[in-house]
Structures are given as structure tokens and as C-alpha cells.
């Protein structure tokens, strides 16, 4: 065995050994005397790998592409050619306007289902932008970001429930303020401590918030003797438990646009505003201070950056953005439930930020678009291929199968992406060389 491949080979053997039972054996409960047996089911393991076959193929292609690029130096040549430089310069000048025009005219040529998908993608983009402020710019890990998302959504839903005239355009700025305040209060005790405490505290916050929303349930037939005050409070804060709250204050029709179109346009405008303001902020003294904290907290403090205040600012700003995203999501779906603040949501947004490029707003947008839209559109592919006889003949059946099941594997792949990105490309897809050195050496 070539000594270079030896560790990989051993690692592979080890992983095969420890995953063996879960992949190739199945539990078979024996109900006669309530014991358990395992059954040898190789088809189960093969199914797992064939479902992932598409991922392996794409990964192999990417790897080949990287190798080919490294070997031929094509990317370097292209990047340095005067035409592409010229294009890049013009692109920098005009792209924002082009993108804006394209996005804003979207309702004209998109069908309702695409519009709704894109609106959801926009909400995720907003979340990724917000999380990028803490994780990307300031270097603070937040694991319970969905808690603030849920906070915004429930803030809107509960006020709506009690004050029917309360509408989304009133709720969004207020959610921004209150979300920021919630972030401030939560950050106050733990931002003075080491960074990883914040990760856990926010995680705990999201979990506790979700449980709170699940349990604040007013049941008219409940006979527990509560005082009138408690009863009143329960009625006001009735979140409907797991069922959630249905809202009347959805995005309505406006100036001849359907409510889907209004939702889409509002999301797009908020997104543009957020990108613009955040870009300005990142290039201001505040942004510089955040970067300094991210790069070396002690050194930043030594040169006079008010570390705790700056961290608090970053954290509450990011919470505020999430709360606004929550209001938009609530007003779009007309429905708010505890699933909004599940841990999976936080992980998904985190994976978006990491994939796109920590500390880069456009990276966050790209990551959100990739991780939300690709799996969603992959769902449509199998029926498209199945409906077309030519494609049906060409594409092997295991790949069609793989496409069908891939959305189940989404979170598994997110986890793998997070690990691999940290090991091989810590700066993300759109990261800079500077960020790479930062992540690899302290």
C-alpha cells in the first residue's frame, strides 16, 4: 500500500466498520416476548447509497473540475484576460441595477408557484444576511437564529390576534425594534463571556422559545382555577400550541397585484434595502470594528475597539433582521407555528452562510439561493424526466430514484457540507484569501 493513501484507506475501513450495523442491518422488533432481533438487509444499505448516487456523481465532477483547473491553469488565464477584467469592471458598475430590474419585474413573467418559492428563498436570504452579521462579520457563532425568526413571527401573530387592525407594514418596523431589544437582552449576559457560550445560549433560547410557544395554549374547557389576571394573560398570549395561529393580516391585494405578487415585491424590496444598508455598514467604522473583533478580539480591545458594545450591536442587529424576516414569513403564509423556530431552521441558515462565504453579503445570498432553491427545484425534476420519453430513456433509473429521494437527504448533506467546507474551503464559495488565512490560523 502506498504510504500516501494508507491513512485514507484505514479511515475508510474504520468508517465502514462503525457504520456497518446502521447501514446493513435492520431492527426487527419481536412482539411475541417483546425482544428485538436484527435482520441482514443489504438492500437497505444499497438503497442508501443509490439515493445518494447523484451527490457522489456531482461531487466527483466538481473534484475533477478543480483538478483540471489546477492542472491547466485555465481559470487563472481567464481571470487575467483583459476582456474579463473589462467585464468585471462594468459588471461592478451595473450589476446591481440589472439584478434589481430583473427581480422587480419578476411578477410579470413568473407563475404563482415559482413566485411563492422565490419569496421563500428571499426570506431565507434575509435570514442568511442577518446571520452573516454575527457569524460572518463579527465571528460570533449563533446557533438559535430561528428563535428570533420565530420571535418576529409570533410578535406579529399575537398582536394581530389581539388588535385586528395591526397590519404587516406596521409590524415589520416594530418587529425590528423589538427583535433588536430581545437580542440585546439575550446578548447582555453572555457576550461578555467566551464566544462559544453565545452559541449555546442562543440554542437554548430558540428551544425554550419554541417550547413556550407550544405550551402557551388557552383551552376554554380547562378547569384549572386560574386567577382572572392569569386567565386574561392566557387569552392574550394564546399561541394555539402545536397548531399555531392563522392570521387574517396577510399581504393583501394592492394596486392590481395579487397577494403573492405583493409578498414577492415586499420581500425583494426589504432584501435590497438590507443588502444596501449592510454593505454601507460593513464599510463604515462599525464594520471595521466587527472585522477587528473577528480577527483578534484581544488586539481589537487593545487598540480601543469597544468590544462588548460592538458585539452587542452586531448581535441585536442580526436578531432584528431575523424578526423582520419572521413578520414577512407570517404575513406571506398567513400562518405561524412552532416549527418556524426549530433547530433545523437555524442549522439550515447557518449552512447557507457558511457555504456562501462567511463575512460576504453576496455569499450569504448565494448560499441561501443554492441551499433553498436547488432542493426545491430538484423535486420537480423527476416528474419532468418521467414525462419526457427521450429523457426517460437516457437517464438511468437509479438517478431518477436518487432525484426523487434527495430532498429527504437534505439535512444530512448540509451537515456534510459544513464539515467539508471547514476542512477544505473555510472561506466559503465567495470568500476571500484573507478570510481563508483567518480561519486557518489564529
Amino acid at each position: 500500500m502506498n504510504s500516501r493513501w494508507r491513512p485514507y484507506f484505514l479511515g475508510f475501513l474504520g468508517l465502514a466498520a462503525i457504520t456497518f450495523p446502521f447501514l446493513w442491518l435492520q431492527l426487527a422488533p419481536d412482539f411475541t416476548n417483546d425482544t428485538v432481533k436484527v435482520a441482514w438487509t443489504p438492500q437497505h444499505g444499497f438503497q442508501f447509497f443509490s439515493d445518494l448516487s447523484l451527490v457522489f456523481i456531482v461531487a466527483a465532477l466538481i473534484w475533477l473540475g478543480i483538478q483540471a483547473n489546477r492542472w491547466s491553469g485555465l481559470g487563472q488565464v481567464l481571470r487575467e484576460h483583459w476582456l474579463s477584467r473589462q467585464a468585471a469592471r462594468h459588471w461592478q458598475l451595473y450589476w446591481a441595477w440589472v439584478a434589481m430590474a430583473l427581480v422587480l419585474t419578476g411578477p410579470g413573467f413568473l407563475n404563482p408557484s415559482s413566485l411563492s418559492l422565490l419569496t421563500d428563498a428571499g426570506i431565507y436570504m434575509l435570514l442568511a444576511l442577518g446571520l452573516n452579521i454575527t457569524v460572518g462579520m463579527t465571528g460570533l457563532l449563533v446557533l438559535g437564529y430561528a428563535g428570533f425568526y420565530g420571535f418576529g413571527a409570533y410578535f406579529f401573530a399575537l398582536t394581530q390576534q389581539n388588535l385586528p387592525w395591526f397590519s404587516w407594514w406596521l409590524a415589520a418596523p416594530l418587529a425590528f425594534v423589538f427583535g433588536g431589544m430581545a437580542g440585546y437582552l439575550l446578548g447582555l449576559p453572555c457576550l461578555r463571556l467566551r464566544g462559544d457560550y453565545l452559541a449555546i445560549v442562543t440554542l437554548g433560547f430558540a428551544e425554550a422559545f419554541r417550547e413556550l410557544m407550544r405550551n402557551l395554549l388557552y383551552d376554554p374547557e380547562d378547569t384549572t382555577p386560574h386567577s382572572t389576571l392569569v386567565r386574561q394573560l392566557l387569552v392574550i398570549f394564546n399561541t394555539g400550541g402545536d397548531q399555531g395561529i392563522s392570521l387574517n393580516g396577510k399581504f393583501g391585494r394592492l394596486a392590481g397585484l395579487s397577494s403573492d405578487q405583493v409578498a414577492y415585491l415586499v420581500t425583494a424590496l426589504v432584501l435590497f434595502l438590507a443588502v444596501f444598508l449592510l454593505q454601507r455598514l460593513y464599510h463604515s467604522p462599525v464594520g471595521r470594528a466587527w472585522i477587528a473583533i473577528r480577527e483578534n478580539e484581544v488586539a481589537a480591545a487593545a487598540v480601543g475597539v469597544p468590544v462588548v458594545q460592538m458585539k452587542l450591536l452586531a448581535f441585536s442587529l442580526s436578531a432584528a433582521v431575523a424578526a423582520v424576516a419572521g413578520v414577512i414569513a407570517g404575513a406571506k403564509d398567513g400562518f405561524v407555528s412552532p416549527t418556524l423556530c426549530e433547530f433545523q431552521q437555524s442549522i439550515m441558515v447557518l449552512a447557507m452562510v457558511i457555504l456562501g462565504g462567511l463575512g460576504n453579503s453576496y455569499g450569504a445570498l448565494l448560499g441561501a439561493a443554492l441551499l433553498y432553491l436547488v432542493p426545491e427545484y430538484l423535486k420537480f425534476l423527476p416528474s419532468m424526466i418521467g414525462g419526457n420519453p427521450a429523457l426517460n430513456a437516457i437517464v438511468p433509473s437509479f438517478i431518477q430514484d436518487s432525484l426523487q429521494h434527495l430532498s429527504d437527504y437534505r439535512l444530512l448533506l448540509f451537515g456534510a457540507v459544513m464539515v467539508l467546507m471547514m476542512l477544505y474551503r473555510p472561506q466559503g464559495l465567495l470568500g476571500s484569501a484573507r478570510r481563508k488565512t483567518e480561519m486557518q490560523h489564529t
Binding site: L27, D196, R214, G415, M439
Partner: protein, 309 residues
């Protein structure tokens, strides 16, 4: 772990203590890794969950090979679960931590979260999307027999949890304080570079820390799955959150602190269940965590740790 509303206060307290004992087993893994590396081992909760599943897989395999023998299969099952969890813990260290040890704090943290998500959904996709029940055949003897001690009834399972935890704690105490390995461990925790200079194999010591913590988590996993009778792919996430809270409560990096914190947390939870119902557990845990961070951020027994530059 729910309590009957009719049970006496003593039983509730006992419930809390045994719950705390389980938390302690998991919290030790967090606190030891933190002590040595200064990093939170985020995938630890999932190692606990792997231990749960490895145990029933092992018991199922043995029962195919030589039939249903309660104690043989259960005992060997726990051992196999410990080995499996240890292997996963080692893999976790090799994949998510070793190469990133010198990197920015965010990097190993993120990769460990990625690994924990991966493991959760790996089990979700390959083992079961729903909950799996622990086979009663194996847990019946432990859960249905009682020891009468004055006013309280203790199930054998609870006795086993308490006894096992005590034995493990004693063993760990001895290991850390009186063996060469323990000295090497403490030296590595103090200063990795200097420990390396005096000939301590730092990499192996760190790997050993992960392996030890993971094996303890597996024991906790088997105990919890017998107690609650339910195995589910995301059990580790909640357990991890609780155990981590316990570790912070006692002062993270401090071994006796983790045990103390776990006992306090267990008791608090048992009392919450009695007073408000078990659905408020998580809220109480979180409030407790916030209070500790506000009032005594280094935990009850924690020392002041300077930030590493």
C-alpha cells in the same frame, strides 16, 4: 422522565438525583473535552444517541446468535455500545477537530455542528424515521422490581443508574488524580505545547479524552433508553443541551463541577415536573442557564480562565 402527581417528595427528589446522574455522565464528556481543548464538543449529544442505538443493535445481534438471555445480552450490549460510541467519538475527533485545532474558534465548532447534524440524519435515514421502543424483555426486570426503603420505592433501574454512576465517578477520580495517564491528561489540559515538549503524546491524550467521554455517554444512553423506553434520532440534541447546561452550571472544564451541576439540574427538573408539568422542562433549563451566566459566569466551581490569545 415524568413523575406521578401522587408520588411523595422523597421519590421526586430521588427521581431528580437519578436524572442528574445520567446528565452527569454526559456532562463529563463535555467538560473533559473542554478542559483539554478549550472547545465545546458539539457532537457529543449525538455520540450519546449512537450509544442508545448501538446497544439495541448489539442485543438484537446476540439474540440472533445465541438466543434471548437477558443479562448476558444486556451486559454485552452496554459494552458494545461503549465501544461503538468510543469509536464515533474518536472519528469525531479525527474528522472535525484534529485538523482544525489551530484554526479560528468558529471552524471546529462549525464542523462539529455539521457532524452532529450529519449523524442525526444518518440515523434518521438508515435506522428509523420514527421512535424505536427499547425492548421490554431486557428492561422489565430492572424496571418492575422495587426495593422498599422506608417511604420510597426504588426501581432496580434507578439503583443501577445511581450505582453505575458512582462507580464510574470513583474510577474517573482515580484515573485523573492517581495514574500516569491522569497526570498526562492534566498536563495536556494545562499547556499542550509544554506537555508535548516533555514527551506526552498530546494527540493521543486528546483522542483518549474524546474516547473516554464517549464511552460514558454510551452508558448514559443505554440507561436513558431503558428509563424512557424510547429511542429517537434527535434524542442526543436535547440531552446535549441539558448536559451542557449542567457542565456550565458546575463550571466547564471542572470534573466535580459537572457532577454537581448535573445533580442541581436534575433536581430542578424533577421539581419543575412536579410543580408545572414536564412540558416546561426546557424553559426551566434555559432560565437556569441564563441565571448562572448572569450571576456566576464561571459556574459554581469554575476557576477564572484567561482568554487564549
Amino acid at each position: 422522565m415524568t413523575a406521578d402527581s401522587t408520588s411523595t417528595l422523597a421519590e421526586i427528589l430521588l427521581d431528580g438525583v437519578s436524572l442528574g446522574a445520567v446528565y452527569a455522565l454526559v456532562a463529563l464528556g463535555y467538560t473533559m473535552v473542554y478542559g483539554v481543548l478549550g472547545m465545546i464538543n458539539f457532537a457529543h449529544g449525538e455520540i450519546f444517541m449512537i450509544g442508545m442505538f448501538a446497544c439495541i443493535y448489539a442485543m438484537g445481534t446476540f439474540s440472533v446468535f445465541w438466543g434471548d438471555h437477558v443479562f448476558v445480552n444486556l451486559g454485552l450490549g452496554i459494552l458494545v455500545a461503549m465501544c461503538f460510541s468510543a469509536a464515533y467519538g474518536y472519528a469525531n475527533e479525527r474528522i472535525a477537530y484534529r485538523r482544525l485545532r489551530k484554526a479560528h474558534v468558529l471552524a471546529p465548532l462549525t464542523s462539529a455542528i455539521g457532524l452532529s447534524t450529519f449523524l442525526q440524519y444518518f440515523i434518521f435515514l438508515t435506522v428509523s424515521k420514527q421512535t424505536v421502543n427499547f425492548p421490554r424483555f431486557y428492561s422489565d426486570w430492572l424496571t418492575s422490581n422495587h426495593l422498599h426503603l422506608g417511604p420510597v420505592d426504588i426501581t432496580y433501574l434507578r439503583l443501577a443508574i445511581l450505582g453505575l454512576t458512582l462507580v464510574i465517578m470513583a474510577g474517573l477520580f482515580y484515573l485523573i488524580n492517581y495514574t500516569r495517564l491522569g497526570i498526562a491528561l492534566r498536563a495536556t489540559a494545562q499547556d499542550q505545547f509544554m506537555a508535548g515538549l516533555v514527551g506526552i503524546p498530546v494527540d493521543r491524550i486528546i483522542a483518549f479524552t474524546f474516547i473516554l467521554g464517549s464511552a460514558l455517554a454510551a452508558v448514559a444512553g443505554v440507561m436513558v433508553s431503558m428509563y424512557t423506553n424510547v429511542l429517537v434520532f434527535n434524542a442526543g440534541y436535547r440531552m446535549g443541551l441539558k448536559a451542557f447546561t449542567a457542565a456550565i452550571l458546575g463550571g466547564i472544564g471542572n470534573v466535580p463541577g459537572a457532577v454537581l451541576g448535573a445533580l442541581i439540574l436534575g433536581l430542578t427538573e424533577a421539581l419543575t415536573t412536579l410543580k408545572f408539568g414536564s412540558q416546561w422542562d426546557d424553559v426551566t433549563t434555559f432560565v437556569l442557564l441564563m441565571l448562572v451566566l448572569l450571576l456566576r459566569p464561571r459556574g459554581l466551581l469554575g476557576e477564572r480562565v484567561a482568554d487564549k490569545v
